[in-house]
């Protein structure tokens, strides 16, 4: 009986510690973002946008069966304010007529260009260039995975910086300038990540974002808060502690030489972005390599990505993320608690393992223990109720902190109506959605242990997402 009680106490301590660390990370992230904002001079972005020394960027857009949205994505990328960039769309064996759609919209013609195959990838079947847009190249290749498509795109990239963007992503016009800023300021910059937010409620006009509305469903709004909490504020804090071990695949700007040196993302990874980020950290933070490079988070470089709004797609995505996290942790287990990697090894990796990789299992254990304790009479109903309420209120508190930080930044909600919808969503998050998320992750953990490595369901695109004006 005492054992169960001790376990409940340990889990309670785990919960409190998790929330405390997240709170510290968010406060650290907020301070870091504030310092970042204060350090930007009045004409800085204008100068970067006009300067001849701004490094040109190759934007790589891997896509698989994205015919309904790829045109919108490219039109959005063409609106970027940046002195010199090229867009390389890699169709990864699409079967839905993606190439035809691109041909109709941008007037493609086939060219003889192969580039240098710096990283192995599946066969490139054809390369097309646009008759209308001089900096648009479309690559048609045999089906691999997202990582394989990116690696194929690198062969045709001509510029020293690579920006990998998902096909469902939309960028603000100044996103690339903001991402490139760290490279111009500090030659030690290896890669830059930015803020990722849900795109589901955006309103577009000819590829330009004209209104920032919230997603329509509770699940969508819930992810808006989750992205703000975990992918934004906590991640800035983690980057300060050299522990940013997951840069979203939705958007990353990286030096091409380093990308090639790392061999690109691993095509067999369940989540190639997490695995790649860990390997990137491993490379640059290994003291033996004496690289003195850094990963930077640009808190004002915003990328919008489509989030799942149906339970089925959401479950599939979270299941995949969980399996991908465990796979990446296992592949890079040598970094955990290894002083050779400095803070990354001593804090970042254990944090990621205990509070990300194993969080679902711990939480499920907590639920089981509570039920057992109740049945065996070790804990009273009141104790169980208060435990659940504590977990609920800690989540609400953390989400409110994220909302506070967001409201003091440029990413604040567009209207009072949206603001109150966010508050309502965070209040009901822990009354079902969080538990569903937990279930998806537990299933993902079990399936990972049983060897499941596929990518699950892909998002079913609708032409109406994001909303046209």
């Amino acid at each position: 009986m005492n054992t169960i009680r001790i376990l409940i106490w340990l889990i309670l301590a785990y919960y409190l510690l998790l929330h405390l660390i997240y709170l510290v990370l968010m406060v650290l992230g907020s301070l870091q973002a504030r310092r970042y904002r204060k350090g930007i001079s009045f004409t800085e972005f204008r100068r970067i946008g006009e300067s001849s020394l701004t490094m040109p960027v190759s934007l790589i857009v891997p896509c698989y069966n994205e015919a309904p949205i790829i045109g919108t994505t490219i039109r959005n990328l063409l609106q970027l304010h940046y002195p010199q960039f090229e867009i390389i769309v890699v169709s990864d064996g699409s079967t839905d007529g993606t190439i035809d759609v691109l041909g109709e919209s941008f007037g493609l013609r086939r060219i003889e260009r192969t580039g240098r195959r710096l990283i192995p990838s599946a066969e490139i079947l054809a390369v097309h260039e646009s008759e209308k847009i001089p900096n648009l190249v479309v690559v048609e290749k045999a089906n691999g995975r997202r990582a394989d498509a990116i690696n194929a795109g690198v062969a045709l990239a001509r510029y020293p910086l690579l920006c990998v963007i998902d096909a469902d992503c939309l960028l603000e016009p100044d996103t690339l300038i903001r991402l490139a800023r760290p490279f111009l300021r500090d030659s030690r910059t290896a890669a830059v990540a930015g803020v990722v937010r849900p795109s589901n409620g955006l309103v577009l006009e000819r590829g330009t974002i004209t209104d920032h509305r919230l997603p329509r469903t509770i699940l969508g709004i819930n992810q808006e808060i989750e992205y703000a909490r975990s992918f934004q504020w906590a991640r800035i804090g983690l980057s300060r502690l050299r522990s940013m071990l997951c840069i979203s695949g939705a958007m990353i700007l990286i030096r091409k030489s380093l990308f090639v040196e790392l061999g690109g993302p691993w095509p067999d990874a369940v989540t190639d972005d997490i695995e790649f980020t860990m390997r990137l950290n491993r490379k640059i933070h290994d003291r033996r390599n004496r690289r003195n490079e850094r990963l930077v988070f640009a808190p004002d470089a915003v990328c919008y990505t489509e989030v799942p709004e149906t339970a089925r797609l959401y479950a599939s995505q979270r299941n995949r993320w969980q399996r991908g996290t465990l796979q990446a942790l296992w592949r890079n287990r040598g970094m955990i608690l290894n002083p050779r990697y400095g803070l990354t090894g001593l804090f970042g990796m254990p944090f990621f393992l205990i509070f990300e990789g194993l969080a679902a299992v711990v939480e499920l254990t907590a639920w089981i223990l509570m039920v057992v304790a109740l049945i065996l009479g070790i804990a009273t109903g009141a104790e169980i109720f208060w435990m659940i309420f504590l977990a609920y209120i800690l989540g609400v508190f953390l989400s409110l902190c994220a909302v506070l930080m967001t409201e003091t930044s440029l990413l604040r909600s567009a209207s009072w109506g949206d603001f109150w919808r966010v508050i309502a969503a965070l209040l009901i998050d822990n009354l079902g959605i969080h538990q569903f998320h937990l279930l998806c992750r537990v299933v993902g953990t079990v399936q990972y242990l049983f060897g499941r490595r596929d990518l699950g369901l892909s998002m079913r695109r609708k032409e109406s997402q994001p909303l046209p004006a």
Binding site: L10, F42, L404
Partner: protein, 363 residues
């Protein structure tokens, strides 16, 4: 003791913690609402202010409205007005910007900004250093010169930019001394700022190029700035740096002379074709192509067999740039060069430019 704590009843601890966080959450929610309301109010006020002020400012710049009338509007919100004026200034050419000077002086920003420049808080010093550049007042120059000694690089850069904006040619040498940073990007960034000085920079630049006490980074910045300004007067001084012991200086000097198109330097540049550094040899090939010197053809042809790919490539490109005589040399090299790599590079360059039918060339 630890075990005793673990086995004690949960309820009191959980109740206290949960209640505390409930109260904190309610306070936080109230705080978020207040912060949002305040933020919204400020943004609305600023938007309204801009809506009102911009037509008056435009009318003033067109000469349809007097200074006092505009000052009356702008004076209601001095800091947003300063941002507005700086925004406006960025859209105007340097001559037209002078029209804004009476507005800056009328709103008496200088003293406040100079105080900010002494602040212990570096973002405030940064803001002050960049704002001073817009005021167009000569009195800002001495404090900006002092700011070039700031510990924070961003403040030094902002001060340099402001001095350049004020057209202070005398600041060139102090700027170079305070920002002689290693690394190509840093140097190009500073050269870009200094080039804003235009003709004002010429004499100080010549002094820098002759000053052998300065470090390699400072000399590289001076060479780059001369190139950006197309300062042909600087060519003799740059030429004298071709035999400098520092590799970066030699490379920058060669590139600069190639860009400036100074034919008198060709022999000295050609002499560096035997340099031990491949990057220097590469710069030589590139420069000779730009200088359009037909006498270099034998040397460029020989360089097609250089051990380094980039040197061979740029030698080939240089020959191509020389027109018919260079193309003939490439055609000859593609079949008769003593070095197999030289023959291959000749073929590659011709093929790249659609001159040669490669099937007719023996392997």
């Amino acid at each position: 003791m630890f075990l005793a704590i673990l086995t004690m009843h949960l309820l009191p601890f959980v109740q206290v913690t949960a209640t505390t966080f409930t109260v904190l959450s309610l306070l936080l929610l109230a705080g978020v609402v207040i912060v949002r309301a305040d933020y919204s109010r400020r943004i609305t006020e600023q938007t309204e202010f801009r809506k009102k002020a911009i037509p008056h400012l435009c009318a003033y710049l067109e000469g349809k409205e007097g200074r006092e009338a505009v000052l009356g509007i702008l004076g209601r919100k001095r800091l947003p007005a300063l941002d507005l004026l700086m925004d406006q200034s960025e859209e105007m050419d340097p001559e037209a910007r002078k029209k804004l000077a009476p507005l800056y002086s009328g709103l008496s920003y200088t003293q406040g900004i100079l105080r900010d420049l002494q602040s212990r808080y570096w973002p405030r010093r940064l803001r002050a250093a960049e704002r001073l550049g817009y005021l167009g007042e000569e009195s800002a120059i001495p404090p900006l010169m002092r700011a070039l000694g700031d510990d924070i690089l961003d403040v030094r850069l902002a001060a340099a930019l402001s001095l350049a904006r004020l057209g202070c040619g005398g600041a060139l040498i102090p700027i170079i001394r305070s920002l002689d940073l290693p690394g190509e990007i840093s140097q190009r960034r500073i050269a870009e700022i200094l080039s804003m000085l235009g003709e004002e920079a010429a004499e100080p630049l010549l002094k820098v190029l002759h000053d052998r006490t300065l470090g390699p980074a400072a000399l590289c910045i001076a060479i780059r700035t001369s190139t950006l300004l197309k300062l042909r007067r600087a060519a003799p001084a740059i030429e004298s740096l071709l035999d400098h012991t520092d590799e970066d200086i030699r490379i920058n000097a060669i590139r600069a002379l190639g860009s400036l198109g100074e034919p008198s330097c060709i022999s000295k540049i050609t002499a560096l074709a035997e340099d031990t550094s491949w990057a220097v040899r590469n710069a030589v090939m590139d420069a000779l192509g730009r200088l359009n010197d037909h006498a270099s053809i034998p040397m460029l042809t020989e360089a097609l067999g250089d051990p380094e790919w980039w040197v061979r490539y740029h030698a080939g490109i240089a020959l191509w740039q020389l027109g018919d005589p260079g193309i003939q040399a490439l055609q000859k090299a593609s079949t008769h060069h003593v070095d197999a790599y030289g023959r291959d590079m000749g073929r590659q360059i011709l093929q790249q430019n659609g001159i040669l039918n490669t099937t007719e060339v023996p392997a």
